[in-house]
Amino acid sequence: MGLEEKLPSGVLLTTVEKLVNWSRKTSMWPATFGLACCAIEMMTSGGARYDIARFGMERFSATPRQADLMIVAGRVSQKMAPVLRQIYDQMPEPRWVLAMGVCSSSGGMFNNYAIVQGVDHVVPVDMYLPGCPPRPEALLDAILKLHAKVMDEPLGPKRAAALAESGHRTELIPSSVRYAKKK
């Protein structure tokens, strides 16, 4: 961004990185991209019982320009692919993509000419969530795993190089284990 690239990496900047990542992950607004039956589960996650707002996703953004996370929920047809890419391009950086359900992850059972075989042909995907459709808890689990990934993201090219050198990879622990109540 500017200042952090001129300074040597140290305690102050890693703390800034943590703060930036923390603020990004605790207020990650999703863009609605419900395409099929998975969207029903995604809407349920926003309801009272599962309450996605507990994780800082207060509202599903109807405009991609105010969204950070695109939840691709449902099968993407060949005709929808350019639309999906355009919506992704309109999102401000940093942005993340969650492929919800088997259809958006790999095409699922629709191995035919009409369906894109995995949304990662069109946009980079940060998290794949299998299930047909995945239950709302599974979506929350995928979002929390994505939060763990966001917390490890580097700030600036210097930190990115240091991270790539260390070969660090975020460990994806099931959420019910990671957030289990301590006895």
Partner: protein, 188 residues
């Protein structure tokens, strides 16, 4: 519209403060779905630890999404993985394709393939979502032995299939566990 209608409206809002909270505390409190929920698969074992899978590929044929890959292998007297002639040498399920319909479970002739209620499968890597045989096999319960080993509960596979429960009882299935037991039941 009456004079007290706005107050009435706030009354509804206020009264919810004394109602039970509908939100479930998922990540802190683990969610245990209904016992018949279609989560990920598990390859079961006989009570002595031998695998139930005979490598017949009926599950792969039944799968509408072509998510299952099976390769059968021959049991020998030196290396026996399942009672009978054949066993599943390689077994893979692609969870990016699996739609959890359960047709594979219906097709399985030995009740080897069942589903457990584990649903926390999300991953950032497509390769890691192809589960291999080691990941799908049921954990070894007390009293089970890691194959390959000879048949402990009978002379041939007929004893396992026809008198399975009796033999298991005679062999002594440990207290509190069943012949087909998932990881969540083992935890109980």
């Amino acid at each position: 519209m009456g004079l007290f209608d706005p107050l009435k409206g706030f009354g509804v809002t206020f009264s919810t403060m004394f109602k039970k909270v509908a939100t479930e505390e998922y990540p802190e409190v683990p969610k245990i779905p209904a016992a018949r929920f279609h989560g990920r698969h598990q390859l079961n074992r006989h009570p002595d630890g031998l695998e139930k899978c005979v490598g017949c590929e009926l599950c792969a044929w039944a799968c509408p999404a072509d998510a299952i890959f099976v390769e059968g292998g021959d049991n020998t007297e030196e290396a026996r993985f399942s009672p009978g002639e054949r066993y599943g040498a390689d077994y893979q399920i692609n969870y990016l394709r699996c739609i959890g319909c359960g047709l594979c479970v219906e097709a399985c002739p030995t009740r080897s393939l069942t589903m457990i209620t584990d649903f926390e499968l999300a991953n950032d890597n497509r390769q890691d979502l192809i589960y291999t045989k080691e990941q799908l096999l049921a954990p070894l319960l007390p009293g089970m032995e890691q194959p390959p080993h000879p048949m402990r509960l009978g002379e041939d596979e007929q004893d396992y299939y026809v008198h399975g429960p009796e033999l298991a009882r005679r062999a002594g299935v440990p207290e509190g566990s069943t012949v087909e037991t998932g990881s969540e039941e083992a935890r109980r």
